[in-house]
Symmetry: C2
Subunit: 597 residues, 2 copies
Amino acid sequence: MAHETPFSAWKRTTTCGALRATDAGKEVILNGWVHRKRDHGGIHFINLRDRYGITQVVVDEESPEEVRRLVEALKYEYCIAVKGVVRLRPETMRNPQMPTGDIEVLATGIRPLSASEPLPFPIDDAIDAREELRLQYRYLDLRRPRMQRNLTLRHLVAWHAREYLVGKGFYEIETPTFIRSTPEGARDFLVPARLHPGRFYALPQSPQLFKQLLMVAGFDKYFQIARCYRDEDARGDRQPEFTQIDMEMSFVTQDDVLAETEGLMAHIFQKALGVDLSLPFPRLTYEEALDRYGTDKPDLRYGLELKDFTLHVDKGSFQAFQKVVAQGGVVKALVVEGGASFSRKEIEALEEVAKTYRAAGLAWMKVTEGGLEGGVGKFYQEAAPALITSLGARPGDLILLVGDTWKTACTALGAVRTAVARTRGLIPEGAFSFCWVVDFPMFEWNEEERKWDPAHHMFTMPREEHLPLLEKDPGAVKAAAYDLVCNGYELASGSLRIHDPELQRRIFKVVGFSEAEAASRFGFLTTAFKYGPPPHGGIAPGLDRLVMIMAGEETIREVIAFPKTAAGLSPLDGSPAEVDPAQLEELHLRVVLPEED
Amino acid sequence: MAHETPFSAWKRTTTCGALRATDAGKEVILNGWVHRKRDHGGIHFINLRDRYGITQVVVDEESPEEVRRLVEALKYEYCIAVKGVVRLRPETMRNPQMPTGDIEVLATGIRPLSASEPLPFPIDDAIDAREELRLQYRYLDLRRPRMQRNLTLRHLVAWHAREYLVGKGFYEIETPTFIRSTPEGARDFLVPARLHPGRFYALPQSPQLFKQLLMVAGFDKYFQIARCYRDEDARGDRQPEFTQIDMEMSFVTQDDVLAETEGLMAHIFQKALGVDLSLPFPRLTYEEALDRYGTDKPDLRYGLELKDFTLHVDKGSFQAFQKVVAQGGVVKALVVEGGASFSRKEIEALEEVAKTYRAAGLAWMKVTEGGLEGGVGKFYQEAAPALITSLGARPGDLILLVGDTWKTACTALGAVRTAVARTRGLIPEGAFSFCWVVDFPMFEWNEEERKWDPAHHMFTMPREEHLPLLEKDPGAVKAAAYDLVCNGYELASGSLRIHDPELQRRIFKVVGFSEAEAASRFGFLTTAFKYGPPPHGGIAPGLDRLVMIMAGEETIREVIAFPKTAAGLSPLDGSPAEVDPAQLEELHLRVVLPEED
C-alpha cells in the first residue's frame, strides 16, 4: 500500500453503524472492511463493515475518476478508508432490516489501508469450515457476526457480573497463579522454577485456598473473575484453561450465598440479554433431583418427571421387577405423552441409553383406550386402570420402566428422559430454567480403594445437624454444598467451608488423610485456621459455560476468543511446541520421551 | 468451639462500621474480630473489628452473668458474634476520630465463632516484622489497616479502570495464557504439555500478539486487566507474575491513544483517590527528557533541570571539559539551590552516583557573592558573572558538572539530580506528576552482537516521516512509541503497530531476523496481516506499579495480596516446591540438578 498522506487525514469521523436519515448531507470518513461488493451497470456498492455495523458505500458517476479507478481493485476484506457524503437511498432501495438502511455514502475519496489475500473461508455465519481451519484463522473466524456477538456477550456478562458484585460490596482481589501443587481431583499443570532447580510452581485449579485465606484476612466479600487450570485428558467440552466468577463471603449462611448468586444471575441476564429471570430459583435436594429427574443436573425446561412404580410391582406378575424390589431395589417409570407411536427401533435406541447407564434393561408398555399393551403390558392387565390413573397417563402414551437399585434406576431412566426430550423436540428454544440442587452427600464411597472420598472438596462443611454422624455413618452425612443448574448444565458449585480446625481434622481422618499428608498439602490453610477464621462460604459460576448457555451455543469453544482444540492444541500459534534445548537446560530439565522410558 | 445453636442465630444484623448516635436503643448483632480488649475496674471494653470499621463493645454489670464469664476468655483476634443494645457513650468518652465513636454496644450475648493462638506479630500498622514473616502469615498481615487500605485501593483502581474503558466502548476480551514460546526480551515461563510429550506451552509476557489479532478480527477497542509472566532474575522490585491494564485500539493516531490513556488516569485518580489530575500531561521527546532530566523516566514533582554548560567551556580554562567538547562531547550542569552548604563528603557521595552511571567524575563549584569558588571555580573566574546569570544561579548555590558524551553526561547528572532531590527533601509528599515521553529511537545498537535491536518491540511502527531512513540510518529512525511516566516511574509503555507486512519484513531485516526465524516465531501474526489488518496501536499501564504509586508504597509487594519474595518464593504455601516423581513421569520430564550437569 502506498502511504502518500498520513493515516490521520483518513481517520474515521463516525462508525459504520451510526449514520441515519437525519445525517443526510454530512461529509464523513468511514474506516472498515469490504464486507460485500457488487457492480450494477457501472455503479459500485460496497458494504463497509466495522464492529458497529455496516454502511453502504456507493461509487457512481458522481465520484471522482480516481475513486472509480480505485474501487475496481478492492477485494473482500480489504481494510479501507472512505470519504464521502451521506445521502438518502432512493425510496425503493431502503432496507428496514439494517439500522443504516435508509442512507448510503457517496464516495468522494477512497484509501486502501491494507489488502487481503483470498480468504480460507467467507466472513459469513453460514460456513461449513472445519473447526481446525476456523481456529487456525481465528482472527477471520472472529469477524463473523456470530462470533462478534458471542464475544460481545461474554464481555457484557463479565462486566455486569462485576457491576452487580461491586455494588454489593464485594472486592475483586487477585490471587496468585503460581502456587504450590496440591495434587487431588484433577491434575495440576506445573511450571518449572528456573531459579530453584528441581522445584515447580503449580497453576491453580481454582483460587479455593486463597479465597479462604482472604476470608481469614477479613476481606468479608471477595470475588474474582479468575483463570483456572486443569490438566485433564481430552474428553468432552474441556479446555486446559477456563474462567470462573469466583466468590466467597464471610458471616453467611447457605441461604445468603444462594440469594446473592440468584441476584447475580438475574442482573446478568437482565442487563446482557434483556431476559427477566424469576426468583428465587426452585430448590431440590440431591435425592429429590435424582428421584424426579434421574440426575443432579436436572433440565427443568420440560416436565417428563420420573414416577415411582415400585408400589405397583405387586399388582402385576412381572417377576424381574418383583425380584428387584425384593432385593431392596426400586422400579421407576417415565410416561411419554403420545409415545405409543414410538417404533420398536426407537424404543430399542432408548434401551441402549438405559444400558449405557448400567440398567439391565428398559421395560415398556403402551397405554390404549382399553388398558396396557405391548412389552410388559400383559403382566399388568388387571391393575391397568388404577395404575394408569396413578401415573397420570393417557391413551396414546408410552410408559418406560427401569428396575434396579434406586440410584441406577433413577440415573438410567434420567438419561432416557433426556434422550426422549431431545428426539421428541420437547426442549423449548431460548428458555433458561434454573434450579438449585442442595444437600449433597458429604462423602462418596471409593470402591476401588475401599475408603470414603470427599464428594465436593476437603473443606466443605457438613450440615450442622449431621456432625454427630461423621465417624459413625459417613455415607449419611449431608454437606452444606449446593450446585446451580441451568438447562441441565452444572453452572456453579459451592459450599459453606469448615472454619474449625478440629472439625477439619475429623474430616481428614474420615477420608484417610494422615496428619503428615494433610500438613504437607494444606498446612498453610489449617495453620491459618488457628487465627480466628470467620464462618464463610462461596460459589463459583463458570463463565465459559454461562456465556455458552446464554449464547445458545453447544460448546464453550464458541465463546472463547482463542480456544484450544479438545486435544489441547492451538492451530493458530502451534502451541504447545518444542522449545530451545537451551531453555530446558536453564530449567534443569530433560525430556524423556515415552519410547525412551 | 461448641456449636450449641446454628450460626444463623448469630448472624450479624449490621457491620462494625455502621452504627451512629441515631441508632441508640437498637438491638443488633455484630460479627468481627477482637481488635483490642481492656478492663477498667471490672468493665470490659472490646474493640470489635471487621472490614467496615471498629465498634466498641462493653460488658458491664448490666450484661448477663454468662457474658461476663465468656468475655474473660476472649483473646486478641478471636472471631466472635456479639448481641447487644446500641447506646450513646457518656459525653466525655465520645471519640470524634472514630466514625462509630459516639456509640457503644452493651453486650447481652457473646458467642465465640473461632479462637486464635497468640499472634506472630500484632495486627497494627506499626510493626517491624521481617517481610518473610509477614508473607508467611499473609492472612494476618492483610488484617492490618494499611494492607486493607492498599487492597481496597487496588480493587477500586481496577474497577474504575473498567468503568472508564467500558464507558468508552472498549470490550474486555480474555486472551490465552497457554501460548507458543517466542523467546525474546525476558525469558518465558514454560508449562509442559502432558498430552504432547516433549512439547510445552509458554505463559505470556503480555497479551501483545493476541491483542493485535483481536484488532485484525475487528474488535476495534480492546482491553484486559491481564496477568503477565516473566521469568527474570531476582533483582529490583519484580514479581514472576504481574498485572497490566492492557489496551489496544484500531483506526487511531498516537494522539488518540495518549488522550484515551490520560482520560483513564484522570478517571481512576478522581474516583479512587479523589485527586484531580490536570490534563493533558506534558509531553517530552526522548531527547528532551534526557537533556533536561537525564532520564527517560523524569520525575517532574520537582524542578532541578539539567542545564547546558558546553557553551561556557571556552570561557574558562578547565582542560578536561575542553577536551570533552573537542571530542564532540558535552558538559551538563545542575544548579542546586542552597547547595553551597554541601560538605565535601556530600559532594563525594554525589560523585560516586555519577561514576556509577559511567561519568569520569563530577566537577563542582560554589556560587558566592563574589563569584565562583572551590572545585573547578578557579577556572571560570573571569566568566563567572555571565555564567552565573546564564545558569540562573544565585549566591549560596552549588553547580555540579559532568562532561562526557551527551548520553552519559545527561544520564550521570540525571542520577545526581535524583540523589540531590532525595537527600535534600525536594520531593513533595502526595504529589502525582505525570508526563509523556515520546519519539523514542526505533532501534538500539547492540555492541556485543554488533547489530540493531528493536528498542521497544518488533511490531512498533516507525514514525511515518522516518520510513525512508530505515535501512540507510537505523539509528536516526524514531518510533511511534510512547511511555507514560509518573513520579519518575515508567507507568505504561505503548506504540502504534505495524500493519503492513512489507514494512514488517523490512524491520525484521534491519534487526537481523531471517525469514525463517520470523516465520517460526511470529508466523501466525505476519500471516494474519495478509488479511486486511487495520491501523492500530495500544498501551499497557502496569496495575501493580500504578497502585503502588497511588498508595505511596515503595514496593509492589505491598499492593499484591499474595506476592512472592524477590527470589520468587512464597513463604505462605512454600512454592515453588518439589513434586511427586509420578507427576514428572507423566510429564515425561527428568530433573537434572546443576551438580549432575
